[in-house]
């Protein structure tokens, strides 16, 4: 398994180099790099956040065909972000200062999502299907609310908001890139201890409790971590719905193990490969005419259907 990981790391490096240096005109070396490196770093970070978050999430809810985005975490983030602008106005420090705005988004996202989803899990008696269905409906609710706010909003404030809502890799929020790296790093350290418990948690609630794990507390903490990681990724590049589904399942198929250290690493590496290759295709073949999220939602949706057919005996 270690060799598999090494192979993947090498692949990431190769694709990364291709992305960075392909068709480079050395006359404009510095200029090109100043464009490509932030994008590249953003891709790595997004793959890291979404890959880890989705895999952890799937283990917590014991279902491998879902992503946190199906629960409306993306649209919740967009709603929070819009609401901050809507209620505080574009002149407030939380809008003008990108770091403050980012931190406020993160705090709100973390607390609301944890509260909301742990409540959902409790009410439904950990019935995942109902949690999911409620979540998808909530996604509509959030985006309808957000859309309504956008329509009521002062056009000037909307302008200021728009640039941060429809980010993509071509328009990376590079001001917060470094900051996002720090946040992701701190989060990783904080949640590292809980991650080690994931192997035990995947055995099921009773088994985990027998093994001496405070199940409810750990899952709640992990859920908080998932929400925060999703928030970081969304803040950087905007919502990418199906990425997590693709990479987490690829990793599960490829490694075919229950050891989460390998699964998470695999998921992250797959995320990097998918994003880099996708971005190369978008830039070179389609000359930026189609955003990468569209590709990912078509591929991801198709892959989901495939997973359903393959797993149909277990559904």
């Amino acid at each position: 398994m270690r060799t598999k990981l090494i192979i993947m790391a090498v692949l990431v490096a190769v694709f990364g180099l291709v992305y960075l240096f392909y068709g480079l005109n050395f006359k404009f070396f510095e200029f090109s790099m100043s464009l490509r490196i932030p994008k590249f770093l953003a891709m790595l970070l997004v793959a890291y956040c979404i890959g880890a978050a989705t895999l952890i999430f799937q283990t917590i809810i014991k279902n491998t065909i879902v992503t946190p985005c199906l629960l409306g975490m993306n649209s919740l983030y967009l709603l929070i972000h819009t609401a901050v602008m809507f209620f505080l106005g574009s002149a407030s420090v939380f809008v003008l200062n990108k770091f403050a705005s980012f931190m406020l988004d993160l705090v709100l996202m973390g607390s609301i999502a944890t509260f909301l989803y742990s409540y959902l899990f409790r009410v439904t008696g950990h019935n995942v299907l109902y949690v999911l269905l409620t979540g998808t409906v909530m996604a509509t609710l959030f985006s309808s609310l957000q859309n309504s706010m956008v329509r009521v909003m002062d056009p000037n404030e909307y302008d200021a908001l728009l640039s941060s809502l429809v980010a993509s890799f071509n328009n990376v929020n590079s001001d917060i890139l470094g900051f996002a790296f720090i946040v992701a790093f701190v989060l990783s350290i904080v949640f590292y201890k809980d991650l080690k418990l994931l192997d035990a948690i995947s055995l099921g609630k009773e088994m985990a409790i027998n093994l001496g794990i405070d199940y409810d507390k750990v899952t709640k903490r992990l859920l908080l971590g998932v929400a925060l990681f999703i928030a970081v990724a969304t803040a950087l590049v905007g919502p990418i719905s199906f990425l997590g589904l693709i990479i987490a399942n690829l990793s599960r198929q490829f490694f075919n193990t229950y050891r989460h250290s390998y699964l998470i690493a695999g998921s992250i590496f797959f995320g990097m490969i998918v994003l880099i290759v996708g971005q190369v295709i978008v830039e070179r073949v389609f000359v930026l005419s189609v955003p990468i999220s569209v590709f990912i939602s078509i591929m991801g949706g198709g892959y989901f259907m495939y997973l359903l057919v393959v797993n149909r005996s277990r559904i």
């Binding site: 299907l129 269905l133 998808t136 909530m138 609710l141 329509r151 939602s297 078509i298 559904i315």
Partner: protein
């Protein structure tokens, strides 16, 4: 019958309210002037008719779909029908750029039907144990079709045009732009005539064979009917989510599963729901208006979440008790 009468009265009341809401003041004094009549017949009446017809069409479509596959979570939104209809419109725009609304409608009909058939075939092939899964698959299926739609839109530079069909709104409805919705009336009548067949098919393949009902033909017909109803709304108004899901479920809670008994009520309540949402959308930030899709999205998803919780507690009885309790509460309040 009493519920039908109540719903019809409410619909009438709200319809007359709706006629008097708008940027240009219209009241009894200037109603019969030349200008007043013009506004009434060019803008207000068409809008009202469009609202009622789309409410009827979407909720009846949802009811038929739910009855045919015996699953209360299926609807035009959660069955990929709306997104297929949007794809159809987009294809029409790409291949026949100067197509009339009728040309677009035909494309929307065809693609919506194909999409719905694929979805039904898919869920029948997999035979999910849990009814919720059926809805989730439908939502995912809608995402995939939506992805294809936005790919084509980006490719052919039609993203802005597309956004019209992504958010349903009645604000552009005037005389001459909604008449295609009349097609829903004969379709609803057909649905009513076939109601008993749909009931039987809903009971399963074996059952309907025993009763001599051609299962596949009726299923095929019913789904096509639902798809056409949906597509005609999407062509004129745009997407309105959740009506087809929530309205039939609410009516079923009170009136049971027999399609013939619920069809008229569902149609009336659907029209009422859309009408109320539209009035709200026009009043909240008058003189501007919020699109119906947003209001229906907020209201509809809240109602739907409530429905899920009720189903979780296995208590249709509880709903009745709750409603009665509210009634009692109101009475007590009045006496005070």
């Amino acid at each position: 019958m009493r519920s039908t009468a109540i719903l019809a009265t409410l619909l009438l009341v709200f319809s007359s309210i709706s006629l008097f809401i708008g940027v240009i003041e219209l009241d009894i004094t200037n109603l019969f002037s030349k200008e007043g009549l013009e506004i009434l017949f060019i803008s207000r009446f068409p809008r009202l008719l469009a609202i009622i017809l789309s409410g009827v069409a979407l909720s009846v479509a949802g009811l038929i779909m739910q009855q045919l596959v015996q699953n209360n979570f299926v609807s035009p939104t959660t069955g990929g029908t709306i997104s297929s209809a949007q794809l159809g419109i987009l294809i029409a725009l790409i291949f026949i750029p100067d197509s009339s609304i009728y040309g677009r409608a035909i494309f929307a009909f065809i693609v919506a039907m194909i999409g719905t058939w694929i979805y039904v075939g898919f869920i029948q092939a997999i035979k999910f144990k849990d009814s919720v899964m059926v809805a989730l698959v439908g939502i995912m299926f809608g995402y995939v079709i939506g992805g294809i739609t936005s790919y084509l839109a980006f490719r052919y530079g039609l993203v802005q045009t597309l956004s019209t069909w992504l958010t349903g709104s009645f604000s552009l409805i005037i005389k001459g732009r909604y008449e295609i919705l009349y097609i829903t009336l004969p379709l609803v009548v057909v649905a009513f005539l076939f109601a008993n067949y749909f009931n039987i098919v809903g009971l399963g393949k074996e059952f309907s064979k025993n009763l001599g009902v051609p299962y596949s033909v009726v299923l095929f017909l019913g789904m096509s009917l639902a798809a056409m109803l949906t597509a005609s709304v999407v062509v004129v108004v745009g997407a309105i989510s959740y009506i087809g899901l929530i309205v039939p479920n609410l009516i079923k809670m009170f009136k049971g599963d027999n399609l013939k008994g619920t069809l008229v009520d569902t149609a009336l309540f659907g029209a009422l729901f859309v009408l109320v949402c539209d009035i709200l959308g026009r009043l909240i930030m008058a003189p501007y208006e919020l699109p119906i899709d947003l209001i229906a999205g907020v209201l509809g998803s809240l109602v739907f979440i409530a429905l899920i919780f009720i189903k979780l507690k296995k208590g249709d009885k509880k709903v009745v008790a709750f409603v009665k309790g509210c009634g009692g509460f109101i009475k007590v309040k009045n006496e005070n």
